[in-house]
C-alpha cells in the first residue's frame, strides 16, 4: 500500500541522543490523532549523515528537510505540513544569506555526495527486512546463487576494482580469490566491525542504518569462496548497531535467507555476532581472530595470511563493513559501472566522517578523486567560527596531516600516501589555528601507546619513548636533538613492529614534523606554543591599563591566584597560576594576555 506522505525520522546514535525517539513517538501520536494512519507512514531510519543539524526529520515526497527538530515540533509538522500542505518554514534548513531556507535537494551538504554505501541509510527502516528487500535487497544474493559461478563474482569484483575500505586498500577480489583457491573443509567469512579509529563512525552508521547490506554481502562472499559460517566482530560500544544487526539476522533467518539450503539452492550459511571488548588492536585482522577465538587480542606475524590460514587455522576472508556494503550493488549493477566511478587506481566512493573544527560535521560519501577542498569547504561549509584552516588529518592514529597547499589533491589511496598520510577507515578531522600540532601528535601517540598490546618491543618501547620526548617538548624541557630522535625511533618502529598498529603509530609525529617542523622548534627553542594549547608554556598577565577591576577574573579563578581591589587593576600570582585560562576566556575587556 502506498502512503501519501512518508515522515522519516533519523534514528542514528547521534539524533537519538537528542531525543529523536520522542520526536518519532510524538509524530506517530499526532498522525494517529489526526486520523491519518492510512495516508501517512512515520519511519525511524538510519543516519542521514548531517549530524551537526540533528535531529533531522525528512518528509517525502515533498522533499522537506527539517533540522534541529524538537519533540514538541511534532504537532505543527503534522497540522501544518501534512494536513495543510504548508511546510514549517522555520524548521527547514537555512543554507545561508543568499539561499535562505531550502529543500533537501538544495542543501549544499548533500550536493556533491554520491551514495552507494549509504544508499539505504536514512531511507529505509533498518529493523524492517521488507523495506530492504523492496530496495533490491537480497537480489544480488539470488543472482549469485542462481546465475553466477564463484569465478564470475570474483571477475565482477576485479572489474569493479573495489579495494578494502578498512585502511590498507588491498584489492577485495584478490582476498576472495586466495581463499577460494585453498582446499579446506571449513572456511570462514569475517566482517570486521571493530571500528576503533577515533574520529570515524561510518561502519557504525551502516550497521545501524542498513544491516542487511552487510549480511547479504557476507553470504555472497561465503558462496564465492565456499564458506558456510560468518562472524561479525563488532565493538561493544555500539549498542544500537548490535541490536539492529541481531534483529536483521533473526529476520533473515526467518525468511530463509540465512541457514540451511538458502532459497532452495543447497547453499548453507550462518552468521554469529561476536562482541569486542575495547581493544583498538583488535581491528588488526590477526588480533581480531585471536579475540574471536576467546583469547587476548594479540596479533601474530603474517604470512600466513588469513585468506590461507585464519580463524582456527582455516582460510578466512576478513572484510570491513564499508567494503561489504559495496558488494551487492556491484553484483547488481556490474563491475564496469562501479569501475567507472573514481580515479585510475581507486574506484567507487569513500565514506568520510567529517569532524573537528568544521561547520557541518557529519558522515559523507563522495566519489574517489574528490578534492579535500570540496569536502571541507563545499560540503563541510568551511571552518567553524570563521577561524583559519590549519590541517586535515586522515587515517586516524595511523595517518598524517594534510595542509592548505595540498587541499586540491584528488583523494585516493595513492595520493594520500604520497602526502605522507593514508586513507585509513575514513576519519577526516579538521583542525584550525587554535590547535597545536605537537599536541595533536602527542594525542595520537598517547592513543597508540595506550592501545599497544605489548607483544613486540618496537611498538611497546618505541611508542613510549617517543611519547616521553613529546611530553618534554610540550612541557618546555625539550632539546633540539629530540627532533632527530623522534624521527629515528619512528623509522625503527615502522620497520620493525609486528603489526599495522606499531608500524603506523609514528605517522602522526613524522607527518607533523614534516609540515609543522617550525612549531616543534618553537616549543623547543622559544618555549612557546603559538596556539596556546600547551599550558606549561603559557603565561597569563593582566594589562593594568585595560583592567577596570570588575573582579570577574578573580572570581572565576579556581585557585585564587588573582588578587586586586574593586575598580583597581588586578594581578596574577604566577606561582599559584595553574594556567587553566578561565580568566582569559571570561575577561570582557581583553585585559588579559596569553603568551
Amino acid at each position: 500500500m502506498a502512503y501519501k506522505n512518508y515522515i522519516l525520522v533519523c534514528g542514528g546514535t547521534g539524533c537519538e541522543s537528542s531525543k529523536a525517539n520522542d520526536i518519532f513517538e510524538n509524530l506517530k501520536k499526532e498522525v494517529t490523532a489526526a486520523n491519518l494512519d492510512a495516508d501517512v507512514q512515520v519511519v525511524k531510519t538510519g543516519c542521514f549523515g548531517f549530524c551537526e543539524q540533528g535531529p533531522i526529520v525528512k518528509i517525502l515526497p515533498d522533499d522537506a528537510f527539517y533540522v534541529q527538530v524538537k519533540p514538541e515540533d511534532a504537532s505543527r509538522i503534522v497540522s501544518e505540513h501534512i494536513i495543510k500542505g504548508r511546510p514549517v518554514a522555520e524548521l527547514l534548513y537555512d543554507a545561508g544569506k543568499d539561499k535562505g531556507r531550502v529543500r533537501l535537494k538544495d542543501v549544499p551538504f548533500y550536493q556533491k555526495q554520491y551514495r552507494i554505501v549509504l544508499r539505504n541509510c536514512g531511507v529505509i527502516d533498518p529493523r524492517n527486512i521488507d523495506e530492504y528487500i523492496a530496495r533490491d535487497g537480497y537480489a544480488a544474493l539470488e543472482k549469485v546463487l542462481f546465475s553466477m559461478k564463484p569465478d564470475d563474482v570474483i571477475d565482477e569484483l576485479k572489474k569493479a576494482g573495489l579495494r578494502g575500505r578498512g585502511g590498507a586498500g588491498f584489492p577485495t577480489w584478490q582476498k576472495w580469490l586466495f581463499s577460494q583457491k585453498v582446499q579446506s573443509d571449513v572456511k570462514y567469512i569475517i566482517c570486521n566491525a571493530d571500528e576503533g579509529d577515533p574520529g570515524a563512525y561510518m561502519d557504525r552508521s551502516v550497521l545501524e542504518g542498513d544491516p542487511h547490506s552487510v549480511i547479504e554481502a557476507m553470504m555472497i562472499a561465503g558462496r564465492t569462496v565456499g564458506a558456510a559460517q560468518g562472524y561479525i566482530y563488532i565493538r561493544a560500544e555500539y549498542p544500537l548497531a548490535i541490536s539492529n544487526l541481531e534483529k536483521a539476522i533473526d529476520d533473515a533467518r526467518e525468511y530463509g535467507l540465512i541457514g540451511k539450503d538458502i532459497l532452495g539452492s543447497g547453499f548453507d550459511f550462518d552468521i554469529e555476532i561476536r562482541l569486542g571488548a575495547g581493544a583498538f588492536v583488535c581491528g588488526e585482522e590477526t588480533a581480531l581472530m585471536a579475540s574471536i577465538e576467546g583469547q587476548r587480542g594479540m596479533p601474530r606475524p603474517r604470512p600466513p595470511f588469513p585468506s590461507v590460514k585464519g580463524l582456527w587455522g582455516k582460510p578466512t576472508v576478513i572484510n570491513n563493513v564499508e567494503t561489504l556494503a559495496n558488494i551487492a550493488v556491484i553484483i547488481l549493477k556490474g563491475g564496469e559501472w562501479y569501475g567507472s566511478i573514481g580515479t585510475a587506481t581507486s574506484k567507487g566512493t569513500k565514506v568520510f566522517a567529517l569532524t573537528g573544527k568544521i561547520s557541518n560535521s557529519g558522515l559523507i560519501e563522495v566519489p574517489m578523486g574528490t578534492t579535500l577542498r570540496e569536502i571541507i569547504f563545499d560540503i563541510g561549509g568551511g571552518i567553524r567560527n570563521g577561524k583559519k584552516f590549519k590541517s586535515a588529518q586522515t587515517g586516524g592514529p595511523s595517518g598524517g596531516m594534510i595542509t592548505e597547499e595540498y587541499l586540491d589533491t584528488p583523494i585516493d589511496y595513492e595520493n594520500l600516501q604520497v602526502l605522507g598520510s593514508i586513507m585509513g577507515s575514513g576519519g577526516l578531522i579538521v583542525t584550525d589555528e587554535d590547535d597545536c600540532m605537537v599536541d595533536v601528535a602527542k594525542f595520537y601517540l598517547g592513543f597508540t601507546v595506550d592501545e599497544s598490546c605489548g607483544k613486540c618491543s618496537p611498538c611497546r618501547i618505541g611508542g613510549r619513548q617517543m611519547y616521553d620526548l613529546l611530553e618534554k617538548i610540550t612541557k618546555g624541557s625539550g632539546e633540539e636533538s629530540y627532533v632527530e630522535q623522534l624521527e629515528r625511533i619512528g623509522h625503527a618502529m615502522k620497520r620493525a613492529s609486528l603489526c599495522g598498529l606499531g608500524q603506523s603509530a609514528p605517522n602522526p609525529v613524522v607527518s607533523t614534523l614534516k609540515y609543522f617542523r617550525e612549531e616543534y622548534l618553537e616549543h623547543i627553542n622559544e618555549k612557546k606554543c603559538r596556539s596556546g594549547k600547551c599550558k606549561d608554556l603559557l603565561k597569563f598577565t593582566i594589562l593594568p591599563d585595560k583592567c577596570i577591576g570588575c573582579t570577574l577574573c578573580a572570581r572565576v579563578c579556581p585557585v585564587n591566584a588573582i588578587t586586586g581591589e574593586k575598580r583597581q587593576p588586578h594581578l596574577i600570582n604566577q606561582e599559584l597560576c595553574i594556567k587553566c585560562g578561565e580568566c582569559y576566556t571570561s575577561c570582557k575587556f581583553s585585559a588579559i594576555t596569553r603568551s
Binding site: 546514535t13 547521534g14 537519538e16 541522543s17 537528542s18 549530524c51 551537526e52 540533528g54 571500528e195 576503533g196 579509529d197 577515533p198 574520529g199 570515524a200 563512525y201 557504525r204 561493544a236 560500544e237 555500539y238 549498542p239 548490535i242 541490536s243 541481531e246 554469529e272 555476532i273 561476536r274 562482541l275 569486542g276 571488548a277 575495547g278 581493544a279 583498538f280 579475540s291 574471536i292 577465538e293 576467546g294 583469547q295 587476548r296 587480542g297 566522517a353 569532524t355 573537528g356 573544527k357 560535521s361 557529519g362 558522515l363 588529518q393 586516524g396 576519519g427 578531522i429 583542525t431 590547535d435 595533536v440 594525542f443 595520537y444 592513543f447 595506550d450 592501545e451 598490546c453 579556581p558
Partner: protein, 165 residues
C-alpha cells in the same frame, strides 16, 4: 544461543541466583572456551564487574586455568575488576571530541566528582571512565552516562546533568 545484548541486571537477585544464571549462560554457549569473551560480557552485565571469585567460577566451568581468564579480562578495557558506581560516566577522548574540548570535560568532572578516570566515588554513585571514540563524532564533545550518549557537553551542561542524576 543467548542474545548478546541480553545482560539486564535490573532484577533483584541474590548472588546465588546470579551465579545460577551465569552457569546457564555458560551452558547455553556449550561451555566452550572460544566463547569466553561473550560469557564475560554477560557476567559483567549481571554482576556489574568481574570479581576474582567470578572469574574463578567461569574458569572452572570452562575448564580453563584462572590465569587465562584473568589474562583476557585484563587485556580488554571494557571489562572491570572493581565494582562500578550506579552511574558510569564515560568521557569520549576520540580525536573529534579531543579537539573540541574533551580534555576540559574530563578535568571538570574530576573536580566535580573528586575522582580520577577508572575510579568510583566513595558513595558508589559515580564511576568515571575515559573512552576511546564512541563514534558520536558529529556530537563532539560527547559523554555517555550508563551507555546513553549526551552531545556537545560543556561545563554548565555537566553540572546540571550530574545534579539531575
Amino acid at each position: 544461543m543467548p542474545n548478546a545484548t541480553e545482560t539486564c541486571a535490573c532484577a533483584q537477585e541474590t548472588d546465588e541466583q546470579k551465579y545460577e544464571r551465569i552457569a546457564e549462560i555458560i551452558e547455553g554457549y556449550g561451555a566452550q572456551k572460544t566463547n569466553l569473551i561473550q560469557i564475560l560480557h554477560m557476567a559483567q552485565g549481571i554482576f556489574g564487574y568481574l570479581s576474582l571469585e567470578l572469574q574463578q567460577f567461569i574458569a572452572d566451568k570452562l575448564r580453563l586455568p584462572l590465569s587465562e581468564v584473568y589474562g583476557v579480562v585484563t587485556f580488554y578495557s571494557y571489562f572491570s575488576t572493581t565494582p562500578r558506581g550506579k552511574y558510569t560516566i564515560g568521557v569520549c577522548l576520540g580525536t573529534a571530541c579531543y579537539v573540541r574540548g574533551g580534555k576540559k570535560i574530563i578535568d571538570r568532572l574530576k573536580e566535580i566528582l573528586n575522582i580520577g578516570p577508572g575510579e568510583t566515588t566513595p558513595d558508589q554513585k559515580f564511576s568515571l571512565e575515559v573512552m576511546r571514540c564512541i563514534g558520536a563524532c558529529g556530537l563532539a564533545p560527547a559523554i555517555t552516562v550508563n551507555g546513553k550518549v549526551h552531545k556537545q557537553v560543556n561545563a554548565d551542561k555537566l553540572k546540571t546533568l550530574i545534579a539531575n542524576l
